[in-house]
Amino acid sequence: MRLIHDNKMITVRNLTKSYHVGPITVPVLKGIDFSVEYGEFVAIMGPSGSGKSTLLNVLGILDRYDEGEYILNGTLIKPLSETEAAYFRSRLIGFVFQSFNLLPFKSAIDNVSMPLYYQKVPRRQRDEKARRLLERMGLADRIHHLPTEMSGGQRQRVAIARALVNEPPLILADEPTGNLDSETSEDVMKIFSEINAEGRTLVVITHDEHIAARARRVIRLQDGRITNRNLG
């Protein structure tokens, strides 16, 4: 790990990644270059199989890359131990997933406060913070409900609250509206815009041009390469 002061949230240089399926090597990312400024809202678009989910996994330190450089918040992310990866995820990144990924047996407030549990924040503070975020998401009356007792839109708002709870500078969202109807999608995207307006950096993968339209910049991926080189 190396500190690099490039004053960007994300810098990716000539990043490649292949999957190995038996003896066959399948290149997925074939040299990606882009950067994301602090406070930017970037959408990544592309057809399925273009490598956008893989890219998001790499950006989220859930997966490794082969060649090139990934600098997150001034830190070169090169093979990290699981513990280091967990540390950076916990401090720098909030995830929002298409299928929400809430723990079904935990109430909304317990789901939201979980990242703080792993940062060893005392329970009272965790609950206080989670409660405030849920209220802000308009879920004041759903605080002690289980995810199964909530609609898709409500679940996604719980998931967003969870992504925000440890105040990460970067939010990564993978098709956050993929499972929602258009009206609820609109609500969720409004929330994303607000988050961005607060100064958090936002990287969203989406199929939806309406969503992408809210982003300040769109990165288009095709076949493991960025096709719009004009920006970034």
């Binding site: 967990a86 990924n101 792993y118 329970r123």
Partner: protein, 408 residues
């Protein structure tokens, strides 16, 4: 260990599968229950068996005359060896012999009478030293002593059955006179039957009195002796047998000529048998416990597999590998310890119940679990819990968050 959040997490995840948790826990409870039961009952077996010797000095040796089986200086085999009172005096001079005394039994049963009641009982003449060799447990009164022997007093220590028949248990037998073959004897002691095979039908009188009154022959039935501290029968035996062989003219190598019971050797044999039984019980108990732990490990592996997505989510939101490892270990440990503790309580409960009911027989009495064994069981449990949890915990740590999150 006293992190409440951690315990809350454990409670939450165990509650999700109540039946499975209960069945898994039962395996461990059963294992520890069997271990405790086996060890406790083993203790009972040991105590019961050792109680067989409670009336007998464990350093005692008993010698009876046998029948020769070898030629000796022109004498044919098959002769009876009749021990006599001179043998006692001769052996008493050997270094290493502490107490020594004769037992002589009158060949015919005499009628004994008290008032109108008559019974027929066996008379044994014993030396004053015998009280220290075969310790008759007295219900009341005293043993035959030196003075009784020296003065050939007409005193008797009788069995409970004798008191029952002659006195119908209605009067205090101590100090009263009974007629033995028409001769009055004073009852000085009543012994209680300690063991099943011990007869309550005997009347013990001083050896000297028996010879004076009933049978003047010098022959005796048995020599009883104890070994002085610092000596063993093995070291005394050759000399003792040689002396007896010379007097009674048999080959000292002739093992049939004397019947010798060395109680210390018997006790030692029993003790090693008990050690063997205890070891066996520990192995069986620990084996049962191990089976329970394999059950826990297996269940936890399945649980971890089922919770792949959950662990993936936890990792994605910042759970470190060690926090996942400890979470699973902690869960397993919680199941094994709680279940084990319940099994321990049940085992101790059953043992105490058996004790309370007072089941006793020749080979079994007073089962018990001592504190060190209980603590040992807890220690074994903790280790077993950690071992049972380690594999599933490693499995959980290896889960990749991407795989887990893809897994719908």
């Amino acid at each position: 260990m006293f992190d409440f959040d951690r315990w809350a997490e454990i409670g939450q995840s165990l509650k999700q599968h109540k039946l499975r948790t209960a069945l898994t826990a039962f395996g461990v409870s059963w294992g520890i229950f069997m271990l405790i039961l086996l060890l406790g009952m083993g203790k009972g077996l040991e105590r019961g068996t050792m109680a067989l010797y409670q009336d007998t000095a464990t350093n005692s040796v008993w010698i009876n005359g046998g029948k020769t089986s070898q030629d000796y200086k022109g004498l044919t085999p098959g002769r009876l060896v009749n021990l006599d009172i001179e043998d006692i005096a001769m052996l008493a001079r050997l270094p290493g012999i502490d107490l020594i005394g004769p037992t002589k039994l009158v060949n015919k049963a005499y009628n004994m009478q008290y008032g109108q009641n008559i019974g027929s009982f066996q008379i044994y003449g014993i030396g004053a030293a015998n009280a220290g060799i075969q310790k008759l447990s007295l219900q009341g009164g005293r043993q035959i002593n030196e003075l009784d022997e020296r003065e050939s007093r007409k005193v008797a220590v009788v069995g409970t059955r004798v008191v029952e028949v002659l006195m119908k248990n209605r009067i205090d037998p101590l100090g009263s006179s009974i007629l033995v073959g028409g001769i009055p004897f004073t009852v000085i002691g009543v012994y209680k039957k300690a063991l099943e095979e011990q007869s309550p039908n005997r009347v013990y009188i001083p050896y000297a009195t028996l010879r004076n009154v009933f049978d003047s022959s010098p022959y005796i039935n048995q020599i009883a002796l104890t070994i002085a501290p610092g000596h063993t029968w093995a070291s005394i035996r050759p000399e003792a047998v040689k002396l007896l062989a010379q007097r009674h003219r048999f080959d000292a190598q002739d093992s049939a000529a004397l019947e010798i019971y060395d109680i210390s050797a018997e006790v030692k044999k029993l003790q090693s048998l008990m050690t063997g039984i205890r070891l066996f019980m520990v192995i069986v108990g620990v084996g049962t416990l191990l089976a329970g732990c394999v059950g826990v490990s297996n269940t936890m592996l399945v649980t971890v597999k089922e919770r792949t997505r959950e662990f993936g989510i936890r990792k994605a939101i910042g759970a470190s590998p060690s926090s996942i490892l400890f979470m699973v270990l902690h869960e397993t440990l919680a199941i094994t310890l709680v279940a084990g503790y319940l099994g321990l309580l049940a085992g101790v409960g059953v043992i105490e119940l058996v004790r309370g009911v007072g089941i006793e027989s020749d080979y079994f009495r007073d089962p018990q679990i001592d504190l060190p064994i209980a603590l040992g069981a807890i220690a074994v449990l903790s280790v077993a819990g950690l071992i049972a949890g380690y594999l599933p915990a490693r499995q959980a740590v290896r889960i990749s968050p991407i795989e887990a999150l893809r897994h719908e």
